[in-house]
Symmetry: C2
Subunit: 170 residues, 2 copies
């Protein structure tokens, strides 16, 4: 099973990267960290499709059996990366959604927005989703709390369940 985690935070320091790295390491997934994997601003011109980095993005999303999207409350970086992609890479592919949040309830809005965007790409955004409040991240030890680790485990199990069921029509 080839799972790809896309960490949507453009910030090089922050809780999103800790949690994304945790998931990638514990569940041995591929990882695209958009604070390092810098894309140009999408402009719809054909030349951009030729860029090595854009081709790499498309290939890694295409070959994944399932995707984990981790985004901070409002990340243009993730949105921009998705602009380069289409239903060609996402159609019917199971996608798990996580949002970093400041502690309020804004994470839910971020998840709802991302779910709508995923629908537009014909992805299969799975029902289970997670908001990671600051208290769920152990910054000092660069990991997540035990409680959040259990929630992530459940999320990943559901993602596997959908991925194992196979992609409809394929």
């Amino acid at each position: 099973m080839n799972i790809l985690v896309i960490s949507g935070s453009p910030r090089t320091h922050g809780r999103t990267r800790i949690a994304a790295a945790y998931i990638s390491s514990v569940y041995q997934t591929d990882l695209i960290d958009l604070s390092e994997f810098i894309l140009p601003l999408f402009n719809g011109e054909a030349e951009q499709a030729e860029l090595m980095r854009v081709q790499e993005l498309k290939q890694r999303v295409s070959k994944a059996d399932a995707i984990v999207l981790y985004h901070s409350g409002m990340s243009g970086a993730l949105k921009n990366a998705l602009d380069f992609l289409s239903s060609e890479q996402f159609k019917y592919k199971p996608v798990a959604l996580l949002a970093a949040a400041g502690g309020g309830k804004g994470g839910i809005n971020a998840l709802n927005n991302m779910r709508t965007v995923m629908r537009g790409l014909y992805a299969n955004a799975i029902p289970r989703q997670l908001v990671l409040d600051p208290v769920t991240i152990d910054v000092e030890n660069a990991t997540v709390t035990e409680h959040m680790a259990a929630s992530i485990k459940e999320l990943m199990e559901e993602l596997h369940m959908f991925a194992n069921a196979g992609t409809p029509g394929v």
Copy 2:
């Protein structure tokens, strides 16, 4: 009354630019066209706040009495531009939302997502909103249809009404 139109499409050719230019010209507004006004990908680092272009963006949004956000179905470029801004520029400011759409109903999702994002910036997204299907744009003459021109007029009147009422607490 200083109204700022932000055209969110990153595409240099397209219907969004025609409609945004139409609004800016007919209603004599300021215009930031994100297909020309290129911003770096937001990364949250302090150095970016020093960039001339970022300072210009903040200033032009700050000094506007009201904002018109025109975005294509899914524009990382607009999302990225908003990443540079905060409630400091948007708090209680009336904002009109328009979405370019392919002819399906995806434009409504784009508007709903953008309304949620505006709430997060404490903007006052006004009730009236518009989806511009391809049939509403007269590409040959680089303008909008008569019917859409009337709808835009109503939108702009509502935006003026809110702007004239003044910003609460200021």
